[in-house]
């Protein structure tokens, strides 16, 4: 039920509807819950974008991993 999938916003239409790309599948989703622009990434759940993602945040996780390893080596 809480499965959510990242997708890139390709197009924004009238009435808070967006066309997103999951990688190999394009679909219309509702954008009522987020402010996004074309080219940004969102997390899609039950046909709605529920949160905006950024490339920086994705990189932050990698940094967190790096810190954990560094701590382990101490």
């Amino acid at each position: 039920m809480c499965i959510a999938v990242p997708a890139e916003v390709l197009e924004i239409k009238e009435g808070k509807i967006g066309v997103v790309d999951y990688g190999d599948l394009r679909q219309e989703v509702r954008l009522d819950l987020v402010d996004v622009e074309v080219g940004e990434f969102v997390l899609v759940h039950v046909g709605f974008a529920i949160q905006k993602l950024s490339r920086e945040e994705a990189l932050e996780t990698r940094e967190l991993f790096r810190q954990v390893y560094a701590a382990m080596e101490e």
Binding site: M1, C2, I3, A4, R30, D32, L33, V34, D35, L43, H45, V46, G47, F48, I50, Q51, L53, E57, A58, L59, E60, T61, L64, F65, V68, Y69, M72
Partner: protein
């Protein structure tokens, strides 16, 4: 999984006593089972699933209410997960009424726009799903549309588990996508180690490592191992819409008693969309008498394989308990991936 290997090594070194952590998310359980993650953890480190499947914790009385709506000739729109959950007499799949599986609430509205019949959306789910329903209600759907609100809130169930102490937990792995919407501020009141984790096996291992470290260092705080998706405040707009439309109410969970303020009902001004009021449907408590131990599985005190019915009388094709029905249910996930763990 080279990073994962390093974390497993670290866990083996650090786990110097018994640790038990609970996650509250079917997607976490699916990832753990699919990757065989439990088999590589140190023996004294246990991760159990709690009440993290919205379909599984929907009590029988609410399924009966949905079946009553089908009898009243409503078209029911639902997520596919709910179809086979047993009610007192049959399931949605076998009830003979018109039941349509939809991707989300907006598709249920589309059905209502094309018919004169009443359409009821079975509105199940945690805080990930409730804002999508709220946004839809605020767009004034047609008069023949309504919802049966079966929503539940995660922190209230955690509070119950902590007060009750039955599962003897050292900490919680928080559900990444519930926190994507809600943030994790409201979890900071709990005096227990907590880590928000993502869904890749490495994310889960990282979450476990951070939990073990909190316990070892005597800390009890909320840490975020999923910052690529989750921030402390969550999705502020989604939260605002949710509380514009819904208000908390007491609600029973399968396997639990009534947990105060753990459900969501439509506010008075949206009564026209409330199927309970519109069709005068009452939700009753139903006592179940069966060897099924879904209740204990949902409280994290029994494993699916502890159940006498698991894989014999109870299978995904002919489920006895709700945990064998949903893709997010512990029993169905274990049946799919590790029948002989």
């Amino acid at each position: 999984m080279s990073r994962g290997k390093e974390i497993i090594e670290a866990l083996r070194t650090l786990a110097d006593r018994n640790y038990t952590f609970m996650h509250i998310c079917g997607t976490h359980e699916a990832s753990i089972a699919r990757s065989g993650l439990r088999s590589v953890l140190p023996d004294n480190l246990t991760i159990v699933m709690g009440p993290g499947c919205p379909v599984c914790i929907t009590p029988q009385g609410e399924i009966d209410a949905a079946l009553e709506l089908a009898e009243k000739d409503c078209i029911l729109a639902t997520y596919g997960d709910l179809l086979r959950v047993p009610g007192s007499e049959g399931s949605l799949e076998s009830c003979g009424g018109e039941v349509r599986v939809v991707q989300g609430v907006h598709k249920a509205v589309e059905i209502a726009e094309k018919t004169d019949r009443e359409v009821v959306f079975l509105s199940v789910g945690f805080e990930t799903t409730a804002p999508t329903v709220a946004a839809t209600i605020l767009q004034s759907p047609p008069e023949n549309f309504s919802i049966l609100s079966l929503h539940r809130l995660v922190p209230q169930a955690m509070q119950w588990l902590l007060e009750q102490g039955e599962a003897q937990l050292d900490g919680f792995m928080l559900p990444g996508h519930v926190c994507a919407v809600m943030g994790y501020e409201e979890y900071e009141k709990f005096p227990v180690p907590q880590v928000v984790a993502g869904f890749e096996p490495e994310d889960i291992l990282l979450g476990l490592l951070m939990l073990v470290n909190q316990v070892r260092e005597g800390r009890a705080e909320v840490e975020n191992a999923y910052p690529r998706v989750v921030c402390r405040e969550g999705n502020v707009r989604a939260k605002e819409l949710m509380y514009e439309v819904f208000e908390p109410c007491d609600a029973e969970w399968r396997g639990f008693p009534v947990i105060p303020q753990s459900g969501l009902r439509l506010k008075e001004q949206f009564s026209a969309y409330d199927a309970r009021k519109k069709f005068d449907v009452e939700i009753r408590h139903v006592d179940t008498h069966s060897a099924c131990i879904c209740d204990q599985v949902l409280r994290g005190v029994a494993r699916p394989t502890d159940c006498k019915l698991f894989g014999t009388a109870c299978t995904p094709r002919k489920p006895v308990g709700a945990c064998m029905v949903s893709h997010e249910g512990a029993c169905k996930i274990w049946y799919l991936y590790q029948r002989n763990p």
